[in-house]
C-alpha cells in the first residue's frame, strides 16, 4: 500500500468515526434522523448546506470543466450565488409552513399545500429520478480518486464498490447529524487543499495568474471566455437560470431547510454563503493550469485533470492528502443523497400505499433501502460514460421542474393553481427532459427552423417553459369549468 492510499483510507475511517460519534446519546426517531430535531443554528446549517454543495462536482467536475471547456465553467460561480440571494426570500416561508405542519420531506410540502397525496408521490418520484445521477457522479468521483491516487493498485470498479460500501455503512449508522459533523472535517480539508492547489499550480508552472491566462490565450484564443457557438452566452445565461431556480428543489437541499432553528438562521446564511463560492475560483485555477500541462484528456476523462496534474507535480503522500479531501467531498454529499432517496422511498412511496405504518417502522424501512439505492447507483456508475458536469446538469433539468408548482403554492392566493395543473406541469416538464435526454436530441435537432441563439438554450429551460405553459393552460381550463358550473347554478336558482 503506498502513501496515497494510506491517506485515503484514513479519510474514510475518519468519516465513519465521526458518524458513529455524532450518533451517541441520541434517540433516532424520524425527526432526529432526517431533520436533526429542527435544532441547528446558523453554523451547522451553513456547513450542512455548504457540505451538500461542495462535492465531487466542485472538486473534480469544476476543475475538469474549466480544463475541458474553459469559460463556460464560470456558470458554476454564478448559479449558486443567485440561488443564495433567492434563498433569503424563498426559504423562510417554506421553513415556517413545514414547522407549523410538522413536515419531514419535500413531497410532504406539496401534499399539504395542494391537499393531494398523489402529487406527493409524483414529487417523490421526480426527486428520486434526479438524485440518481447526482449519486452516480459522487461514486464516479470516488472511483476516479481511488484509482488515480492508488497509482493503478486498485481498479476503478473495485474503487466504486469500496466507496459505495463506506457511504452505505456511514449513513445507516448516523443519519443527518453525522453528515453535519463530517461536513466540518470535509470543509476544512477541502478549503486548505483547493486554495493551496489553486495558488501553487499557476505560480509553479507559469509564475502567476496573469501569465497563466496569457499563455492559455496565446495557445487557445478565446478559451477563457464563452464561445460564439455551442456553450455560448445564451447557453450560459439559460443554464445559470435553470440551475439557480433548481438549487433548492433537490429533495436533500429542501429537507436541509427544515433543520434550521428559525428563519433568521436561514436569512443570515444568505449573506455568508455567496462568499464561500469563491473557493470555486481556486478550483478553476487548477483546471486552467492543467490545460497546458496535462493536455489531451477528452470526453469524461476531463474529470481527471486535477488529479493528473497533482500526480505530475507532487510526492505520493501529498497526492494522498489531496485524494483524502476528495474522498470526503464525495462521501458527505453521497451519504446525504443516499439517505434522502431512501427516506423518500420509505416515507413518501411505501407509506402512501401502506397507511398504518408508524414512524419507527418508516425509519427501519428507510435504513434497509439505503443499500438498495446504493446498488442502483453503482450499477449506473459502472455502465455510464458522461462527465460529472453533464450528470449534474441532467439532474438539474429534472428537479427544476418542481419550481413553478412550489413558488405558486407559496403565493397568498394558492387557488391560482389547481393540483391537477401542478401535476400536469411537472409531468410535461419531466417528459420533455427525458425525451431530449433519451434521444440525445438538442433543441437544434428538434426545431431546426429556430434562430441560432435559441437553439443554444439549455434544454432544461425549454422544458421549464413547457411546464409553465401546461400549468397555466390546465389551471385556466379548470377555472373556466368551475366558472361555468357556478353561473349555471346561479341561473337555475
Amino acid at each position: 500500500m503506498n502513501g496515497a492510499l494510506v491517506g485515503i483510507a484514513g479519510a474514510a475511517v475518519l468519516a465513519l468515526g465521526l458518524g458513529f460519534l455524532a450518533r451517541r446519546g441520541r434517540q433516532m426517531g424520524l425527526e432526529q434522523w432526517t431533520v436533526g430535531g429542527r435544532s441547528f443554528g446558523a453554523p451547522l446549517v451553513f456547513l450542512l448546506m455548504a457540505g451538500e454543495i461542495y462535492t465531487t462536482f466542485t472538486f473534480l467536475g469544476g476543475s475538469g470543466f474549466a480544463y475541458g471547456k474553459g469559460g463556460p465553467a464560470y456558470y458554476i460561480l454564478c448559479y449558486a450565488t443567485l440561488a443564495y440571494v433567492m434563498s433569503y426570500f424563498l426559504l423562510p416561508p417554506i421553513w415556517r409552513y413545514a414547522k407549523d405542519n410538522g413536515l419531514y420531506s419535500q413531497p410532504d410540502f406539496f401534499i399539504r399545500k395542494y391537499d393531494s397525496p398523489m402529487l406527493g408521490v409524483l414529487v417523490a418520484l421526480v426527486g428520486i429520478v434526479a438524485l440518481i445521477p447526482y449519486l452516480v457522479l459522487q461514486f464516479k468521483g470516488l472511483g476516479i480518486i481511488v484509482e488515480v491516487a492508488g497509482y493503478g493498485a486498485i481498479s476503478s470498479t473495485s474503487a466504486v464498490w469500496i466507496g459505495a460500501v463506506v457511504a452505505t455503512a456511514y449513513v445507516m449508522v448516523s443519519g443527518v447529524r453525522g453528515s453535519a459533523w463530517t461536513a466540518v472535517a470535509k470543509d476544512v480539508m477541502i478549503l486548505l487543499v483547493v486554495v493551496f492547489l489553486g495558488v501553487y499550480f499557476p505560480l509553479h508552472y507559469y509564475g502567476g495568474l496573469g501569465t497563466m491566462f496569457a499563455a492559455i490565450e496565446a495557445a487557445k484564443p478565446g478559451f477563457t471566455v464563452l464561445p460564439a457557438h455551442g456553450e455560448s452566452v445564451w447557453w450560459f445565461s439559460s443554464t445559470v437560470l435553470l440551475t439557480a431556480l433548481g438549487f433548492y428543489m433537490w429533495p436533500h437541499s429542501f429537507a436541509s431547510i427544515y433543520t434550521a432553528r428559525n428563519t433568521r438562521v436561514i436569512r443570515q446564511n444568505a449573506v455568508f454563503l455567496p462568499i464561500y463560492q469563491l473557493i470555486l475560483l481556486f478550483v478553476f485555477f487548477v483546471g486552467f493550469a492543467a490545460v497546458l500541462q496535462v493536455p489531451g484528456l477528452k470526453g469524461p476523462d476531463i474529470d481527471l485533470a486535477l488529479l493528473k496534474l497533482s500526480e505530475k507535480t507532487f510526492e505520493p503522500w501529498l497526492v494522498g492528502v489531496i485524494g483524502a479531501a476528495g474522498v470526503l467531498t464525495a462521501l458527505v454529499p453521497g451519504s446525504m443523497i443516499l439517505m434522502t432517496a431512501a427516506t423518500l422511498l420509505a416515507n413518501n412511496l411505501y407509506r402512501v400505499f401502506a397507511r398504518s405504518t408508524d414512524d419507527m417502522r418508516v425509519v427501519r424501512i428507510a435504513k434497509l433501502l439505503v443499500p438498495v439505492v446504493a446498488l442502483v447507483a453503482v450499477y449506473f456508475t459502472l455502465s455510464g460514460g458522461a462527465s460529472i458536469v453533464a450528470l449534474l446538469l441532467m439532474g438539474y433539468s429534472f428537479v427544476t421542474q418542481l419550481f413553478p408548482a412550489l413558488v405558486l403554492s407559496l403565493a397568498r392566493n394558492k387557488r391560482w393553481v389547481t393540483r391537477e395543473a401542478a401535476a400536469a406541469g411537472i409531468v410535461a416538464g419531466v417528459v420533455t427532459v427525458a425525451a431530449v435526454g433519451l434521444t440525445h436530441a438538442s433543441i437544434a435537432t428538434l426545431f431546426p427552423a429556430l434562430p441560432g441563439e435559441i437553439k443554444e438554450l439549455n434544454a432544461g429551460i425549454v422544458a421549464l417553459a413547457v411546464n409553465v405553459i401546461v400549468l397555466v393552460a390546465v389551471s385556466g381550463a379548470a377555472k373556466l369549468a368551475t366558472a361555468r358550473v357556478r353561473t349555471g347554478v346561479t341561473a337555475r336558482s
Binding site: G71, Y74, L77, C78, T81, L82, Y84, V85, Y88, F89, P92, G208, L209, G210, T211, M212, F213, A214, E217, G222, T224, V225, L226, V233, F236, S237, V240, L241, N262, T263, R264, R267, Q268, A270, V271, F272, P274, I275, Q277, L278, L281, F284
Partner: protein, 65 residues
C-alpha cells in the same frame, strides 16, 4: 416584497444579462479574464447587498422569529 429587498435583483441582472455585454478576455483584472473578474466581483457585491438587506430588514430585528 419590501422596497429594501429590491437591490437583490441586481445580481440577477448582472449574471443573467451582464455576460452578453462583458464576454471578453481584456482588460484583464488581477490576472483574470474580464468575464471571470466580472463574475467574482458580483459574488462579492451579492454578499454585500445581502448583508445590507439583512441589516435593514425589519424581519431580522431582535424578537422577530
Amino acid at each position: 416584497m419590501r422596497l429594501v429587498h429590491l437591490p437583490a435583483l441586481l445580481p440577477f441582472l448582472a449574471m443573467l444579462v451582464g455576460p452578453f455585454f462583458v464576454n471578453r478576455v481584456t482588460p484583464s483584472i488581477l490576472g483574470m479574464p474580464f468575464l471571470l473578474a466580472w463574475c467574482v466581483a458580483w459574488i462579492l457585491l451579492a454578499a454585500g447587498i445581502m448583508a445590507a438587506i439583512f441589516r435593514l430588514d425589519p424581519a431580522n430585528r431582535d424578537g422577530a422569529e
